[in-house]
């Protein structure tokens, strides 16, 4: 089994570029394909190789399906990418699944809908005070001929805190870069290690299979592409690439803190208790359930990592410590393949036949390892501390939110499943009247009018319920992109010749 050639992978797959606190993403439409390819040839795209000293700037680029077509990739090749990527985020039935309805509906987006679908996104990252000059140098001479700038998505450095005021980006899957784990083995305990093929195309995924992608017949142009591992006679255009999901999530920070404070009697401090339950972590990032004594594969042993990440919900089956509906419990339920830890084969068979644990909330969710995403989002807008959020918004209150970015090899099984079945779904984990407390739309579902609750179960007492949650997050734009390998980028740069 060959090692991954990190020189070929865009760095975003491996790094969040945390030290590069300045970042800006530009959405582009291709004006002149030849000039775009010329820019691409010269662009200093950053790879995933560790450098010493580490780079001060990074440049990443990803294309929508339309963008690949504009660039000159034949439609027969594009057709071999995944259907979700080709049809795009705003396909009508998909918007129902993703919760992009009501005020989230694509027709109201700032970008990403109909004629506003970008062709590509170019992402610039830089250490402090270097971004402007980096953008100047990296755009270079072909830029203005090549592209029409649709909009710049500026980001802000809030020091790892998302706009509502909570530590963010703590839980990330650990990629099995060396492919040491056998994903076909049943997973009895939660593990944070996830198959390489879940995040990079061209490698086996959690089913130990290769995700579908364009494989090319070898010719002069494709000569420098890697062969496909699963079809060595073919060239693997997508190997070391992945899909990038970008969504502009506008956050109503004032609305959030005003709501939780009002619910809890007026003070921010009391409101923070409710906010903490809604997130599932304290503002500092500590989970609400106790830390596991035993290590969890893929979760480090540094004290901070242990404190924030070495936990599952196995010891909180009734949700009294961390509500079932809490954002982080929805986004990553940390559940293994089976309920009830059936260690022996016999017990496993009994469980498989449906005679395992039979409590009301047992076995409601699909095993999480098939639904992980790598998050690489960045915040935007100025910091607004909770205590200042209670005052009414000034007329020129700047927008705040998250440019949500996630990477995954199978958009429908990873991002879309997670967003649909766990975040948006009002029936998640045996509940019936609430969607994600942060991201939910509160839109009525046919036959169940109430979707705006938030329940906090308590041991031996009636749950505490908050009703009529407003919508705190509004989707303002979004698209599915393909984040190619460096070799594929060079391949794209030669198209049209």
């Amino acid at each position: 089994m060959s090692e991954v050639d990190l020189k070929d992978v865009q760095g975003l797959v491996r790094f969040g570029y945390g030290k590069m606190t300045e970042a800006s993403y530009v959405l582009l439409r291709i004006r002149d394909a030849a000039a775009a390819r010329a820019w691409l040839r010269a662009a200093p795209i950053t790879s995933a190789v560790t450098m010493d000293p580490p780079p001060k700037v990074a440049l990443q680029v990803a294309f929508t399906a339309r963008g690949l077509a504009e660039l000159g990739l034949p439609s027969s090749v594009i057709a071999a990418f995944s259907p979700e990527f080709i049809t795009g985020m705003t396909e009508e039935s998909r918007t129902r699944r993703l919760g992009d309805v009501g005020t989230n509906a694509p027709a109201q987006w700032a970008w990403g809908y109909a004629a506003n679908v970008p062709h590509l996104v170019v992402m610039f990252f830089s250490e402090p005070r270097g971004l402007t000059s980096f953008i100047q140098s990296a755009t270079g001479s072909y830029w203005s001929d090549a592209f029409e700038e649709m909009c710049w998505l500026k980001t802000a450095d809030l020091d790892g805190i998302e706009p509502f005021g909570f530590a963010d980006g703590i839980s990330q899957p650990e990629i099995d870069w060396k492919r040491e784990r056998d994903p076909t083995k049943a997973q009895i305990d939660y593990s944070n290690v996830v198959a390489l093929g879940e995040f990079l195309l061209g490698y086996p995924n959690e089913y130990n299979k290769y995700t579908d992608r364009p494989l090319l017949d070898p010719d002069e142009r494709s000569a420098r592409l890697f062969p496909a591992e699963d079809a060595p006679e073919k060239k693997d255009l997508a190997r070391n690439g992945t899909y990038l999901v970008l969504r502009d999530l506008r956050q109503d920070v004032r609305g959030f803190w005003q709501f939780v404070s009002r619910e809890m009697g007026g003070s921010v401090a009391a409101g923070e208790k409710l906010a903490t339950a809604m997130v599932g972590r304290t503002r500092a990032g500590d989970p609400l359930v106790p830390i596991e004594e035993k290590p969890i594969p893929g979760i480090g042993s540094e004290p901070e990592e242990v404190r924030k990440n070495r936990f599952t919900y196995a010891r909180d089956p009734i949700g009294s410590a961390c509500p079932f509906g809490a954002h982080i419990r929805r986004a990553n339920p940390r559940n293994p393949d089976f309920p009830g830890r059936p260690a022996s084969l016999l017990k496993r068979i009994v469980t498989m036949l449906g005679f395992g644990p039979r409590g009301f909330r047992d076995d409601l969710m699909s095993p999480v390892r098939f639904h992980r995403i790598l998050r690489r989002g960045r915040e935007y807008g100025p910091e607004l501390l909770p205590e200042n959020a209670l005052s009414p918004a000034p007329p020129d209150d700047p927008a705040r939110g998250l440019h949500f970015v996630c990477l995954n090899a199978n958009i429908s099984r990873q991002f879309e499943f997670l967003q649909n079945a766990w975040i948006v779904n009002t029936k998640f984990s045996g509940m019936t009247s609430e969607s994600d407390p942060l991201l939910g739309t509160r839109t009525e579902v046919a036959g169940c009018p109430v979707t705006a609750d938030f329940n906090q179960p308590r041991a031996g007492r009636l749950r505490r319920r908050v009703s009529a949650l407003p919508q705190f997050v509004t989707v303002r734009g979004g698209a599915y992109f393909f984040l190619p390998s460096l070799r594929a980028l060079r391949y794209f740069a030669t198209l049209g010749r």
Binding site: T211, S412, N420, A421, N425, T426, K427
Partner: protein, 433 residues
């Protein structure tokens, strides 16, 4: 207890009237594929015994697949199917149906080849019955009326608790239970809530069920010596087939898939119709029959309370043979999206899926019948999508409720009907609210 039953009317469509049939079916909907519960042809919601109904044109896209075995596809008629899952016996339901919606049914059935103006509706439906070889019901004996009553109970309790939130906040679980029992008692006495007790189980059904429960294993035991003798030959043959049966798992046509998606995800539940041809030969046919008999037996006697093996999202499902058992249709009503449904199956009961569906032409390669197959997720999902048919009309009696909702509501009711709960039971019960 009133056991559920099911019906399916299957008839060839008069080719000249197919377009008319499609228009008529469409007129029954309020959204693509989702029935208006009070539509003028069959006002479904007036039938309080009807859980689900579906009217579908069985336009199999894959009849040509048999060519991979060097066989010429037969020309099958284009069928129309009308099916439903109901409380109580089928006969009386069909009569009720014919009695209440005679002109609507006539309008629809008249698009079928052998339905004339003078045809007797009930007799025609009986003559065109296509019984399932295997059938699954999520919760034996939970009637539509009970589901409705228990949903109302749930909502009434929630409204009451919202008004009295302060009073209930710090009450111990058993006290919560006691006070809610009183509340529900009051509501019942005032006629605002009804919780009809279970009707007595029909004696005939109980006898048949007991015979089925014992008969199948008995037959199996009787046949066992022969089966043991045959097993080695069977396995050798099966392994040969498994190694050579071709896979047909190409990427599904996007426009076709998008067409299916139009009718999907409009309610918390979805419908699923999949159709295809069996692999030729006796081994595959007998395997299918054997496996489905087992599934049917299990569904009837073991999986009667909310779970089919590990799957908790299926309300009703059935398998029906067509055309001398050359073809099969699978119908299901389940919660969530088709993607999550397939993931649920692959990750939780992949073995069962393989044993049933691997006898269909083109299924991803299995090993020893139960292994691999759908574990090739991409192939399986494409295989299934390609075999999926749009359902022209689909009705669900409780559109906002998932199977888990129904279970919760039943558990709430059961808890209320218990006179006393111990501390542990009371805590579990209160956690349902």
């Amino acid at each position: 207890m009133t056991p559920q039953s099911n019906f399916m009317v299957l008839a060839p469509i008069d080719p000249a009237r197919e377009a008319a049939l499609r228009t008529r079916l469409e007129s029954m909907n309020k959204a693509p594929g989702v029935a208006d519960p009070n539509n003028s042809l069959i006002p479904f919601e007036q039938f309080d015994r009807l859980h689900y109904a579906r009217l579908v044109i069985l336009n199999d896209q894959t009849t040509g697949d048999i060519r991979v075995y060097g066989l010429e596809p037969r020309t099958y008629p284009l069928y129309f199917a009308f099916l439903g899952d109901i409380d109580g016996d089928k006969e009386s339901f069909l009569e009720q149906l014919a009695h209440r919606a005679p002109s609507g049914l006539g309008t629809i059935f008249s698009c079928c080849a052998d339905f004339g103006r003078e045809t007797d509706l009930v007799r025609w439906m009986r003559e065109h019955e296509a019984p399932p070889i295997a059938n699954y019901v999520n919760w034996r004996g939970r009637t539509v009326r009970r589901a409705w009553q228990e949903a109302k109970l749930h909502d009434a309790i929630q409204t009451f608790l919202e008004i009295r939130a302060a009073e209930f906040a710090e009450l111990p679980a058993r006290e919560v239970h006691r006070r809610l029992r009183d509340f529900v008692q009051t509501e019942k006495s005032a006629g605002r809530l009804a919780l009809t007790p279970e009707a007595p189980t029909p004696g005939e059904w109980s006898i048949k069920n007991a015979l089925h429960l014992l008969g199948m294993p008995l037959l199996f035991l009787l046949a066992l010596p022969l089966l043991i003798l045959l097993t080695p030959f069977y396995l050798i043959w099966l392994r040969r087939l498994e190694k050579t049966d071709p896979e047909l798992c190409a990427r599904v046509d996007q426009a076709y898939s998008d067409g299916l998606a139009q009718a999907e995800d409009r309610l918390v539940s979805n419908q699923f119709t999949a159709m295809g041809s069996l692999k030729p030969g006796f081994v595959r046919l007998s395997t299918t029959i054997g496996v489905l008999w087992t599934v049917n037996w299990g569904a009837r006697h073991l999986f009667t309370r909310g779970r089919l093996a590990r799957i908790r999202t299926i309300h009703f499902a059935r398998w029906v043979f067509l055309d001398d058992r050359k073809r099969m249709v699978f119908f299901s009503n389940y919660d969530g999206t088709v993607e999550s449904y397939m993931d649920d199956f692959i990750n939780k009961t992949g073995f069962g899926l393989n044993m049933v569906f691997s006898n269909g032409i083109g299924y991803p390669r299995t090993n020893w019948l139960a292994l691999d197959g759908c574990q090739d997720e991409r192939k399986y999902k494409d295989f299934l999508r390609r075999h999926t048919l749009p359902s022209q009309v689909w009705y669900k009696a409780y559109p906002g409720l998932s199977a888990i909702d129904l279970e919760r509501n039943s558990r709430i009711r059961e808890g209320l009907e218990a006179r006393r709960l111990n501390e542990e039971q009371a805590r579990e019960w209160v956690a349902l609210l």
